[in-house]
């Protein structure tokens, strides 16, 4: 019994040490956000940046470069934080619920479903404002289909979930590819969506994604303790009184909603959801009550920092944010991996 307790619950001293790191991370994320507001195709002095934010918040008229700070960069940073946090949080939750280190938020076919929705909307020539809605519908349809196919009676075996998610995803991707081949001239328009892009993130997108992230995120955070128990295996968790199947369904539904909203408005941004929870696990330990919120914070920070670099390294041109995210996080993750082997 004591072994179970020590696996499921962190010792208080470890928690205390971790909080120092958490504060440092918080400071870094805030710093990245502030830099992201001031730097870009035009650099804006910190005082002017803060004044623009103040003017924007208080609803005063914006002059000159204040428009860039308040209407372009601020929502872009906010959307980056929100999407990065959503993906990292869901990635962590998926890795926990499937007990699989390769799980990421797109495991249940959210990304390919969203891609198919967006492709359909573009191919059929719908208004651009409807593309995210079509993508959201595609993502949710894809997850529902995966869940339905994986179901055995009332239970959802993880292996069946993973397999059906992968297959549903492949089918959705195949249909998208076929549709694109029929209308070659719209390929780039679809790519600009599926490759992940924060360039046109505005207040509208932030306000649409926010409720999903808040409700779904809160739900996942409340289930963190249950995720800890689930790590001991289905049998043990069940013997501890955990409704394993219902819990698994709840976590998948919550995480899918959060991911689907993020993907629909920011495109398919890879890596953040897979790697951030691993990074956090190595530095903060495996307790999901710490892992999930810290992953969200780190994921938001990673995406904001990547987006900042993506639009400043070669300014005024932009790099694809997904490339920067991977180049930034990948080597750091490999470094951590080697470190832990040496221990």
């Amino acid at each position: 019994m004591s072994a179970i307790e020590s696996a499921a619950l962190p010792r208080p001293r470890a928690g205390f040490r971790a909080s120092g790191r958490t504060l440092l991370l918080l400071a870094l994320v805030l710093l990245a956000a502030l830099l992201a507001l001031g730097l870009g195709s035009v650099n804006i002095a910190p005082a002017e940046t803060l004044r623009a934010v103040w003017h924007g918040l208080s609803g005063q008229p914006l002059a000159g470069s204040e428009v860039i700070v308040w209407q372009l960069r601020f929502p872009r940073v906010a959307l980056g934080l929100l999407v990065g946090a959503s993906l990292a949080l869901c990635g962590g939750a998926y890795q926990g619920v499937f007990r699989n280190p390769l799980a990421d938020p797109y495991l249940m076919g959210v990304a390919s479903g969203a891609g198919l929705g967006a492709t359909l909307a573009v191919v059929l020539g719908w208004n651009t404002a409807l593309v995210p809605l079509a993508s959201l519908a595609g993502a949710l349809l894809s997850v529902s289909l995966s869940l339905w196919l994986a179901r055995v009676g009332r239970s959802l075996p993880p292996i069946r979930l993973i397999l059906s998610g992968v297959v549903v995803g492949s089918i959705m991707t195949a249909i998208s590819t076929y549709l694109l081949l029929l209308t070659e001239d719209r390929v780039r328009q679809v790519f600009s969506f599926t490759l992940g892009n924060l360039a046109f993130g505005g207040w509208h997108q932030v306000l649409v994604v926010l409720p999903y992230a808040l409700v779904g995120g809160a739900c996942l955070l409340l289930l963190a303790r249950a995720l800890n128990m689930l790590q001991l295996g289905d049998l043990t968790a069940r013997s501890l009184g955990l409704p394993v199947e219902r819990l698994r369904l709840l976590i998948i539904v919550a995480a899918s909603l959060v991911t689907a909203a993020a993907v629909s408005y920011a495109g398919i941004i890879g890596f953040v959801g897979l790697m951030t929870p691993h990074l956090v696990r190595r530095l903060w330990g495996p307790d999901y009550r710490v892992l999930l919120p810290v992953s969200a914070l780190a994921g938001g920070g990673l995406l904001v920092l990547s987006d900042l670099l993506a639009r400043t390294l070669t300014r005024p041109t932009e790099l694809p944010v997904g490339v920067v995210t991977t180049l930034l996080g990948g080597p750091f993750f490999l470094y951590l991996l080697r470190q832990s082997r040496d221990e």
Partner: protein, 289 residues
């Protein structure tokens, strides 16, 4: 001098001799290709090649075209042999062509050559290449004089438009969006050159390359008077774009994929003067009433 120019050019045109076969030349894939005789059965897999061949009065020699060739209207009756990503090699071989003109992209050349078919990659991409590749195609098809005459005709039509736009008192600054990533065009790209000749000042500097992916901030900062490739409602809805001069004045022109204007602007072929005319009319409506 201006009056003399057509005469001189015409003299140059009539000096073209008949092509002698076998003809060996290096194509746009860097392959050495030998044509044994004047091609009589041709498959074209690029809309611009189809248009050039027809402009050289060789429409009858076409036995098959790609899915996107739709001009002149007569080619739409020809067998379709697929697109860039889904070419139908079997259909091409079945048409028994003595020449298939392909693009630089895709791997058609390898499989067709293996099937014993002469393949030539001719793929104009820049403004000047439209003319030089027309001449190459003319030589390949034994229509060198016609190709030279076509080039002269095109250059003359373009000069007629340019004379007006070059001397325009005010040249609007313009932003041209290829796709909403957003990708745009530099002044040296095909569309960039046309935009300049149409009398607009591209807000994108040449140093960024021909197809840069830019930050939307740059557009806000440069504040163009004209936006092409975005519809007004989308432009207005983009964060911070409502204050851009072009959006405020409504000088925002959508170019829908596959629309006649889009086809003109994305096909570096003989309808180049028409593309320029269409663009010039958008940039300087006051000059083309």
């Amino acid at each position: 001098m201006y009056r003399l120019l057509p005469v001189l050019l015409l003299a140059a045109a009539t000096s073209a001799a008949a092509t002698t076969y076998p003809l060996t030349l290096t194509d746009d894939l860097g392959r050495r290709v030998t044509l044994q005789a004047e091609p009589k059965r041709v498959v074209s897999v690029l809309p611009s090649t189809t248009e050039t061949l027809c402009a050289l009065n060789l429409c009858e020699r076409l036995v098959g075209v790609d899915d996107y060739s739709d001009f002149p209207a007569s080619v739409s009756k020809l067998p379709k042999v697929g697109g860039l990503y889904n070419p139908n090699v079997e259909a091409m071989v079945a048409l028994k062509p003595d020449l298939v003109v392909v693009s630089k992209y895709g791997k058609l050349a390898e499989s067709l050559t293996a099937a014993g078919i002469t393949v030539l990659a001719i793929n104009p991409e820049t403004y000047e290449e439209v003319f030089s590749k027309t001449l190459v195609l003319g030589r390949v098809m034994n229509r060198e004089a016609q190709a030279k005459a076509l080039v002269i005709q095109m250059r003359r039509d373009i000069a007629r438009i340019e004379i007006l736009t070059k001397n325009a008192v005010v040249k609007p600054t313009a932003y041209y969006e290829v796709d909403p990533t957003p990708y745009t065009v530099g002044p040296n790209s095909f569309i960039g050159v046309l935009l300049g000749k149409a009398g607009a000042v591209n807000i994108i500097p040449a140093s960024l390359g021909d197809f840069p992916k830019i930050s939307p901030e740059l557009v806000v900062q440069q504040n163009p008077q004209l936006i092409l490739g975005v519809d007004l409602a989308t432009a207005r809805a983009r964060p911070g774009w409502a204050g851009i001069a072009a959006v405020k004045s409504g000088r925002v022109t959508a170019i829908a994929p596959g629309s006649p204007l889009d086809n003109l602007l994305t096909r570096p072929g003989p309808r180049l003067p028409l593309a320029l005319a269409a663009l010039a009319k958008i940039v300087h409506p006051e000059l083309f009433r």
